[in-house]
Symmetry: C2
Subunit: 353 residues, 2 copies
């Protein structure tokens, strides 16, 4: 080899090194995650934080994710639009907040008398759930993934005893979404209030009742100090699935392994958050039992009426457009079907344990 | 810069490149996973395959995992020892197979009248479960992770109707582990048979009954062709957790991000396998309903007696040694405690849906 050729080869090798170092640097992404929860809010906010940390660690810092709590960049209910437009690459929220975009969104969090967490994951991962969810969100430039679950919620805090469906007439209750629509049809007055105002509203009698989440989150809010009864079960939200929404352009720019990393982190947080809620709800429930709160079950005939109203409202929703109908049919068919297995497995077992 | 110095610098840079390429090559690991299931066996074997693929993809081939079905390298019940000794880096199996190592192992898969999958994950991830499991397995040079769940199983296939506890006397049933011990105390004759021999044994009357898994796996075995009754619920295995065992030296040799990758892949397969079983059990159940099989619930008083026997057997086990006692107390305290939350959430909701 001539000296000049030798030098050129050496220089070429070095250049190669530099290019490779440069592309390595380019392969580092700094992502933002906006959420609908206060930063580190127990359960939900911790789940967002866990998801961000997991993506960062799994990718060995090739994606570093910084989490922003509600109102740090955008208000809680603008997460969807902000991620859709690319203001942040990731969002952590609940699909039922986006019913204004499409009523079909609600099926991907929770609907009254819907699926338990175990059934929901079966529908999402092994039936048509995620496929339909992706179809619905693709028009908004978003890719959705399940990324958490609170488990079956509680029915709520009441200062009025519910003995018959008539007791819901005129009841002012903080209950958003479909649960609120069902209450309205039963003669009640659903009220929308941000979390921070619930305690005072219940204390002053501005509202007669409120739902929130379950013992773990509700205890921290102190609601047991201003209510008489804590009702179950949470017929209106039997295990809301929490979502991670990913800006589609950001997702599609990822190499294959980073796509798998984002998907898998969501799956891990999905199971993790439910385990967190399950363990902590139980501890908080034990505390609540030591207070003056009376823990009561809604009467069966009240639940039966609420179920009938819920079914009719879901059926009404389905006429909204073609894709809502498709999602409604897939969801309700799966729910009515899975019941025969749940009946002889989980339900039967819990009844005899 | 003098020419010689310049050349030396260039050569140094190239040498650096070579070293870096070499360490890159060294960072590639080819791992083996031995399992207790036939290769690609529905549910369990597919879960092992999914876990291996996920580790490979998440790590972008820095760890490539090759799966071996039962008997390909070692028999199904030698997975524990083989991974412990470093013959393979990973194993996919069920902890109750290792009760000969320590009776405490059984608490990490499933025990009669134990936890549902949701409760089990709460105990493992957010109570003392995984910490105690690691403590137990560390003496075997293994690190355990939950990596799948079959959900609540079925009670089994019977050719004899069970109307009272007396009907269990003399009943020859293929039922391994603690379930078998309970049956024996109830006067039955537990039989151990490998999966491949069950069909013929039931057909020829060599056994009167057999448990297996649930509709999805049982249907594939054709057991509905040779039994009269399909009993529920699976009191003896209310949601076995499936394990991934990792050779401790192999795990500890990993850089931090690969450790997180292995842990997270296990978590993702944990939720995924249960979703798979839930969706497929339901489909298989619908098929079984179209056959001549009668699907029946065990009588309540039979279950009550089995529960009493189970509790006394678990209590006996706890006296084995210090760590078994510690695990027994953690598990049973968690179970008795979580019941108050499950009662007003999942159970109450399923009963009114």
């Amino acid at each position: 080899m001539k000296r000049r050729n030798f030098l050129n080869t050496l220089l070429g090798l070095i250049a190669g090194t530099v290019v490779s170092k440069k592309s390595y640097a380019l392969d580092r992404r700094q992502w933002k995650m906006v959420t609908s929860w206060p930063k580190n809010f127990p359960g939900l906010g911790v789940g967002a934080e866990n998801l961000a940390n997991l993506i960062t660690k799994l990718s060995n810092n090739r994606i570093t994710v910084r989490v922003f709590g509600a109102n740090e960049i955008v208000p809680p209910l603008e997460v969807f639009d902000f991620v859709s437009q690319g203001g942040a690459e990731l969002g952590h929220s609940g699909a039922y907040y986006w019913k204004g975009k499409s009523p079909a969104c609600q099926f991907f969090s929770s609907v009254p008398f819907g699926l338990t967490p175990q059934e929901m994951n079966a529908w999402l991962y092994y039936d048509d759930g995620i496929r339909l969810w992706e179809k619905l969100y693709s028009r908004f430039n978003l890719i959705p993934r399940p990324a958490g679950n609170t488990g079956v919620q509680m029915g709520g805090w009441f200062n009025k005893e519910i003995n018959s469906i008539n007791d819901l007439r005129g009841l002012k209750m903080r209950i958003p979404g479909l649960g609120g629509e069902v209450l309205a049809k039963a003669g009640g007055i659903p009220v929308t209030l941000p979390g921070a105002e619930i305690f005072t509203a219940l204390q002053t009698g501005a509202i007669d009742a409120t739902e929130w989440v379950g013992p773990y989150n509700d205890r921290a809010f102190g609601l047991y100090k201003v209510a008489k009864y804590y009702y179950y079960p949470g017929w209106h939200e039997p295990g809301p699935s929490i979502e991670c929404i990913i800006n589609k352009d950001a997702y599609q720019s990822l190499p294959e392994d980073l796509k798998v990393i984002v998907d898998t982190a969501c799956k891990a947080v999905n199971i993790d958050m439910l385990a967190d809620y399950t363990a902590k709800n139980n501890i908080a429930l034990n505390f609540l039992k030591s207070t003056n709160i009376e823990i009561k079950k809604f009467p069966d005939d009240v639940l039966k009426t609420l179920r009938e109203i819920s079914d009719s409202i879901l059926s009404d929703i389905s006429s909204h457009d073609e894709i809502t109908k498709e999602i409604y049919l897939s969801f309700t068919e799966f729910r009515d079907n899975i019941n025969s297995w749940t009946e002889i497995s989980n339900k039967s077992y819990l009844n005899i344990r």
